[in-house]
Symmetry: C2
Subunit: 494 residues, 2 copies
């Protein structure tokens, strides 16, 4: 280890500590904070973000990075990966002036506040002014990053969420999906049998208790994490304190449970990140595509598959006193895998979900480039969805106001959902090939073999391997749509 | 306003933002955090404390203070008070080197962790090593502050919790109490009638709902605050987000309710601090004696008085389906005002409570001066309590391990509890003299007149007036034991 490298480790560990404080304060804002706390919390988060930005933009950090890179022959491979990850974090921070970062933080806080009221009211006009400001600032930030990274503005944003991801990497994958998914969709819709709906109410306390049981079965460690409620499910918190949220609907137990399964996938990844690299960039996740692959592997690949539903069915009957054919595995399989074009991304099945992403991918590139004026988003959205899925939102609540992401300045994030779905299929296939006994375990609620494969092949690598390296090492092939297509064919026939 | 003053306001507002982040993270640690989050949280809090300390110890702050003090003729009175409050904060921070501050933070985190296990096990030997370290570091810190402030080490610590408080101010008050309280105690015990105990269980959800009803009656604003549960009740959070906690006992509704009343008193003060001074030292509380006066005014003066109990009695009967003479006001008065020497400070009645404080006051001065070795604390404690109250703790759980304060390095804090009790009696007397209709309001659960008097005479002043100025202005006399003695005579006869 070189002196420069050691000093960088100290600096980044200090930075990570403030980032963890941000993680807890953000979680609290979404789950716990009373309304009156909002202005103060915005100040706290902006001050902490500004502080982190300041730590990264001290000139000495750039000097240390150059020095450590020059001496990187003296470092172990993982340390070299850590330096690369540091450089990337540094590059994103230093490309953008501090006052722009703070302006973005404030604009996003304001825009999210407006969005919370504008969405239920389907009031795009109310949303537009703060949204335009967020897009305007994001354009400035993307341009500055593109300059510093010698890449396109959109690729510069993609790299924030998934290191090294580019449009060039996404385009062929999304084009292939746009080609083959209509066939899968048609086939699934023609062949699916109507499930019998299960009648509630399903008391929320019971849903929560069942969620905790499922989390425990997957291997979630409650000594190092929590389950709570928020308007939009997410995974947050800090090292040793991984907090997931879900939301419950008294008339539909599935949304709460699948929220729990999805976030538990994220949380297992967080809880499995390498202890030896806590506080270092190399000890974080490999990027949002891999992160999403872990949530979708648990929710979609496992959670909606027959073996797990065989474990779930008796638990459901016991929890809700259910009886009759609706509560049998066959019907749960039908309920969990029903395919139907709809307006809302988060309610979409796994065949139509990528269409929602492709729509957002197209629109956000145009918003960023200026080809699409924020004021023209609603018709562009509605036309785009109609072209892809044949349905047209009746209002903006069911259209372009449905997601929180853009109001939070998250542009370049959406593609990782579908890349995650592809990676989930490919990783799960590899796990099954290595351990054909996994489904038998799931039937008994035993996730041990699967979790241990994920720990060894995904979680423990943190960001030491890149997304591409990790997938190739774990599955023997680069990321493609093949495993996902096979999965759809297997699950939906065709 | 001068330029130097304006720049100081900006700096202190920034500092306050980080302090508010610390407030939320500390609240979370006590109410929400899973065990596994503890090491990370200790790092986060230490880093933020270090940051705040660093902001205050920048040489430019000292220069700005000198400049602003020199130009203070150009400032309004409240701004001058703000400068004085800044100087005090600055003096405390700059008297102590940063590495000692961080060592204290870490030692206190460690000691509190040990205390959590040592207390129920009555294991002083396990507690001693980390406790000795806390005392050792507190001595160093107090010595450094005494040096900088040209005062005694103990007075330097007192000033942390109550600006300007000194041993010389406390001694005559505590000596008078030590003289007169035995007579009140004897009289009350001889004359009190045995209350009829109320049999539980009292479901916790009902206790919580009742607590919220009482909070709402006092004027607590739930849009700007919360009620939660922790092992030890406290008031925390941030501006616009004042969070109180209590603990519930299924077999005793009184402890949960009185916890709520006590912390609500603190919270009303926090919610009533002057909006115009948010983020400035002058906009904080006047000190812990006034803070405690607000909690004790609500809990002891109001909450255990007959008018309020007339409001509470039907609510209790309705909540718990209670019936018979035990649930009538007379019995509630007897239950709420029962006097009996006991080992535990937080369970003490208002006559014996000051003895517990006098004991800690004597011991902590000796711990700080080195006259008492931490290893010798248990016998010193037991001898001291026996001399004051005639009872001897059978073990250290009921003796010197009962409080969290010293494990958290809080030395010089305890006296403010009893000064707060004196101030509560004196302020409530003044409020009653100004508005004899207050008790009639309380009988109906209407706190409006009382709250408005407190807002105008206490809360809105923040730290613009000193403790002594505030009490003299609100009550027409300096703080003394007279109102408290009259209150005891009135409530307990004699």
């Amino acid at each position: 280890m070189t002196l420069a490298y050691k000093e960088l480790e100290t600096r980044f560990a200090h930075l990570a500590t403030f980032r963890e404080a941000i993680g807890i304060l953000t979680w609290d804002r979404e789950t716990t904070m009373p309304r009156g706390g909002a202005p103060g919390r915005a100040d706290q988060l902006a001050a902490l973000e500004g502080l982190c930005h300041g730590m990264l933009s001290e000139p000495s950090v750039g000097d240390l990075l150059e020095q450590a890179e020059g001496e990187s022959g003296a470092l172990e491979e993982a340390q070299q990966a850590n330096i690369r990850a540091m450089r990337r974090v540094w590059r994103h921070a230093n490309a953008v002036p501090a006052d722009l970062v703070e302006a973005q933080s404030r604009a996003c806080s304001a825009c999210q506040g407006v969005w919370l009221e504008a969405r239920p009211a389907a009031d795009f006009a109310a949303f537009l002014p703060t949204f335009s400001e967020v897009i305007n600032l994001t354009r400035q930030s993307a341009a500055a990053k593109a300059d510093a990274m010698e890449t396109s503005p959109y690729d510069a944003l993609l790299d924030e969420y998934d290191p090294g991801l580019t449009e060039a990497r996404i385009d062929p994958l999304f084009e292939r999906l746009a080609d083959v998914l209509p066939g899968h969709l048609e086939h699934a819709r023609a062949n699916q049998r109507e499930p019998e709906p299960l009648a509630g109410p399903f008391p929320i306390a019971d849903q929560e208790a069942l969620g905790r049981k499922l989390m425990a079965a997957t291997g979630f460690d409650f000594e190092r994490g929590r389950l709570d409620v928020s308007a939009h499910p997410f995974t947050g918190g800090a090292t040793g304190d991984v907090r997931i949220t879900t939301r419950y609907d008294e008339n539909d137990f599935a949304s709460g449970i699948m929220g729990v399964m999805h976030e538990t996938g994220h949380a297992l990844y967080e809880q499995g990140l390498p202890d030896a690299w806590v506080g270092q960039p190399a000890g974080r996740d490999a990027g949002m595509s891999i992160h999403e692959s872990q949530s979708l592997l648990i929710e979609m690949q496992v959670g909606r598959g027959r073996p797990f539903l065989e474990f779930l069915a008796p638990l459901l009957r016991e929890t809700y006193g259910g009886d009759g054919p609706g509560w049998q595995v066959d019907n749960l399989v039908r309920l969990s895998n029903r395919v139907e074009p709809g307006f809302i991304r988060v309610d979409a099945d796994e065949i139509t979900y990528p269409f929602h992403i492709i729509l957002r991918y197209r629109l956000e590139r145009d918003l960023l480039s200026g080809n699409l004026d924020p004021a023209d988003l609603p018709p562009a959205w509605n036309d785009g969805l109609e072209a892809l899925l044949g349905i047209r939102p009746p209002d903006d609540r069911l259209g372009c106001l449905q997601d929180i992401h853009w109001s939070d300045g998250l542009i370049g994030y959406f593609p990782t959902y579908t890349l995650g779905a592809l990676a989930a299929a490919q990783l799960y296939r590899a796990a099954l090939d290595a351990h054909p006994e996994i489904p038998d375990g799931l039937r008994r609620g035993d996730f041990g073999v699967l979790l241990s494969w994920l720990r060894g092949n995904v979680h423990q690598w943190g960001a030491i391997l890149t997304t591409d390296e990790l997938i190739e090492k774990a599955t023997g092939a680069p990321l493609s749509t093949a495993a996902f297509e096979n999965h759809l064919a297997e699950r939906y026939g065709g």
